[in-house]
């Protein structure tokens, strides 16, 4: 922390905080490499890695900007994306509040239990009274603090004349506390403070588990539009150029786009030719050649020569903004999904309340006096309080998602697991989902020296083919050669020197349909071909999905013939050349037919479909917006996690149903005791902890579900 405080008053040293998501960090070495590499840069004051969140926070001065830092991270060997201020802040605050409430409830429960045990074991007279007073002293503030999450939610539900799980909980806790306080005042025999606080503790444990599991919620639009160029050089009437913010652009203007720049608006090319990286919109990894007259879209990156583009659409009218809007609308249907715990509560709460009311009325009619009748009604409420039920769902889901994380599947929240368990049709995107989505080089023909030189060249460039080549070579454990005098010649290739010879990665002479590059070492040249291979277990995964009752199909924005080829290999139906809107329609159609579709996709063009599907998965290489729209993200080069996620989600729901079933059986057994007026604080405490333990133990079985 010391380095943060040593700020001079000089304005040049004004510090900025930037955050980056670095998904590639995997080990202690990565932490050290990033922190030292960034810390050694001029202008960087401090860099701190948060390994759990796969983030790095950098404090730097005005000489550096986000792009420079992303570039620096790339030089260190890590792909990074600028992250917004702190997208987790809101969720985080919620979790922290619940954890604090849980800690307070735990403190109260332990101390009150201590006092209660001595009362149960026979403390009487003054001692009992004193202990009751002490319990009240602890319990009242604890209930007031730790009960807030439930009281607030119950009040909210009642205000809208609905009922949820929190209504019986709040009524039970408040009545139990109130009655115990009355007993304490009048020197009565039984106080239920322990029961009330224990109930809060177990329920808060369930809530906190649920909250901790919730990943980042979708903040899709911001992330999406962040990819659009923020400004453009606009050509003036007198031939000069002026930098204009994206908001200031208008159709008809002509913008100059340099190589490496992201487009800030949609437009038509009026001068220049080259290639753009359209991966954002189409998910296609290969650079797309463009020439005069072609339409290009905001968010695309110009890879080669400078282009002159006449703007046709800006801001909210761009294709990118259209996708953002579709995603937002599509996501709405999912927010209407009712989680299983709430569905159970709709039946449960009225039943419990009428039962307690009946108990009160029954004992009154039997002539038991209002005090005795009230005690019995309250003990019915305490014993039926959905303690085990509050844990039934989150406990199982947390254990299951923990097991999935170890297998490389990150599930965002409990609702996602519930929906994943219900899907009956799988819709796959092709590029980046069934395939790796990266151009991988065929390096089998290169000798050892050529491999080292190729890596020395390729690792310095951001061109997709260079990256693919570098990834293939690094995967083979090649040590790069120290190539000097490196420079990139736009539209031509990458040139440098090694061992007195000119070495280069050049564009191949005959522009065939396959992606390729030519490696030149002195006078010797060699062709390196690229392909986008299917994930190795794609077929196996489709078969397994089939075995568990999911029919698969491909809906892709790619060329129809390449989609058909992949579909044939996998033996499933395929549909190519589908626009984002049509993808969305295809999903809506499936839903209208009564299917619950699972969407697996990575590209930005899949975003609306991911948001609209009943449940969705995205690979870790997917665009930021797609990862946010998806319910779960799977890491690695295999596709099998998709089938695994479905299997585990189904196993989880089985356990959840068992848990809920057990809670109901337990209540059915315990309620007669309460109705008969036989539930003392001791019986309530034992029953409550026992049922919670059984539920948690049953959920722990899921730890092995992902094996």
């Amino acid at each position: 922390m010391n380095q943060f405080s040593a700020l001079s008053a000089d304005t040049h040293d004004a510090a900025f905080d930037s955050r980056f998501t670095v998904p590639g960090m995997r080990c202690a070495g990565c932490i050290a490499k990033i922190e030292r590499g960034l810390g050694g840069l001029k202008g960087v004051e401090a860099a701190r890695v948060n390994f759990s969140a796969k983030r790095v926070a950098v404090r730097h001065d005005a000489t550096l900007d986000e792009d420079a830092l992303v570039e620096a991270l790339l030089q260190l060997g890590f792909e990074a994306q600028p992250a917004s201020e702190n997208p987790l802040a809101d969720d985080d605050k919620d979790t922290r509040r619940l954890l604090r409430a849980l800690a307070v409830a735990g403190f109260g429960m332990m101390n009150i239990m201590l006092l209660s045990v001595s009362v149960w074991s026979g403390a009487g007279g003054v001692t009992r009274e004193m202990f009751h007073w002490l319990s009240a002293l602890i319990a009242l503030p604890v209930v007031a603090y730790a009960g807030q999450p439930f009281f607030a939610s119950a009040a909210m539900a009642l205000r809208y004349r609905r009922t949820n799980m929190d209504v019986p909980i709040s009524i039970g806790v408040l009545l139990a506390t109130g009655m115990s306080f009355y007993e304490t005042l009048t020197g009565g025999e039984h106080a239920y403070f322990d029961g009330a606080v224990m109930l809060l503790f177990f329920l808060l444990a369930g809530r906190a588990l649920d909250a901790m599991m919730r990943g980042r919620t979708r903040a899709g639009i911001g992330a999406l539009l962040g990819r659009m160029g923020k400004s453009a050089s606009v050509l003036q009437a007198d031939g000069s150029t002026r930098r204009v913010d994206a908001a200031g652009l208008a159709p008809g203007m002509v913008m100059l786009v340099a190589a490496g720049e992201a487009l800030a608006a949609d437009g038509e090319i009026i001068e220049g030719a080259g290639a753009v990286d359209n991966a954002m919109l189409t998910g296609e990894s290969a650079p797309e050649p463009v020439a005069v007259g072609d339409m290009v879209h905001a968010g695309a990156v110009n890879l080669t020569a400078p282009l002159r583009i006449r703007i046709t659409a800006t801001q909210c009218d761009t294709a990118l903004a259209e996708i953002a809007r579709l995603m937002d609308e599509a996501g709405q249907s999912r927010s209407r999904y009712v989680r299983i715990a709430d569905r159970a509560a709709r039946l449960y709460a009225p039943a419990v309340h009428s039962l307690a009311l009946l108990a009160f009325a029954g004992w009154m009619m039997a002539g038991a006096g209002w005090h005795h009748s009230l005690v019995i009604a309250i003990s019915v409420l305490i014993i039926t309080c959905p303690c085990a039920m509050g844990l039934a769902v989150p406990a199982a889901q947390v254990v299951a998602s923990g097991a999935l994380v170890r297998k490389g599947v990150l599930v965002k929240d409990g609702s996602a697991l519930e929906r994943l368990a219900e899907v009956d049709t799988a819709v796959f995107d092709k590029t980046g989902t069934l395939t790796l989505g990266e151009a991988r080089a065929d390096i089998s023909l290169l000798d050892a020296d050529a491999r080292r030189i190729a890596l020395g060249l390729a690792q310095t460039s951001r061109h997709p083919l260079s990256r693919g080549l570098a990834a293939s070579l690094q995967g083979a454990g090649i040590v790069p050669a120290a190539v000097t005098g490196l420079h990139e010649e736009s539209g031509h290739g990458l040139v440098g020197q090694f061992g007195g010879k000119i070495v280069a990665l050049e564009r191949p002479g005959d522009a065939g349909s396959n992606l390729a590059t030519v490696l030149r070492i002195g006078d010797r040249t060699q062709l390196i071909e690229f392909g986008d291979p299917l994930r190795v277990d794609a077929r196996e995964t489709v078969e397994q999905l089939n075995a568990i009752g999911l029919e698969s199909r491909i809906v892709s924005g790619d060329r129809a013939d390449s989609v058909a080829a992949v579909a044939h290999t996998l033996g499933i139906a395929g549909q190519g050349g589908v626009s984002p809107t049509r993808k969305l329609e295809a999903l809506e159609q499936l839903k209208a037919q009564g299917h619950l579709p699972l969407m697996v996709g990575d590209g930005l063009n899949d975003g609306p479909a991911l948001a609209a599907a009943h449940a969705s998965l995205a690979p870790g290489t997917a665009s930021d917006a797609s990862q946010q729209a998806a319910d779960a993200v799977f890491l690695g080069e295999r596709l099998m996690p998709v089938a695994l996620a479905i299997r585990v989600a189904r196993a989880t729901m089985r356990v959840v149903r068992q848990n809920i079933g057990f809670s109901i059986v337990y209540n059915v057994l315990a309620v007669p005791l309460a109705l008969a007026g036989m539930v003392t604080p001791l019986v309530a405490a034992i029953a409550m902890s026992l049922s919670s333990l059984v539920v948690v133990a049953n959920s722990l079985r899921l730890a092995r579900a992902a094996r």
């Binding site: 202690a28 932490i31 030292r36 948060n50 390994f51 759990s52 954890l99 604090r100 201590l114 001692t127």
Partner: protein, 51 residues
């Protein structure tokens, strides 16, 4: 009975202390990066490099 007047405040005090420490730990960000802490111990020469 006199024992209780000493022991109960001690028990409550210890509990409250634990609670206060937990609150402090949350506020100070001790739980921010649990996996990172486990990994950082493997970085060999952190001490030489810092300073």
């Amino acid at each position: 009975m006199t024992g209780l007047t000493i022991l109960i405040p001690i028990a409550l005090g210890m509990g409250a202390f634990g609670l206060a420490v937990f609150f402090w730990a949350m506020k100070a960000g001790q739980f921010e990066d649990l996996d990172g802490a486990a990994q950082r111990i493997l970085i060999d020469d952190e001490d030489d490099d810092a300073a």
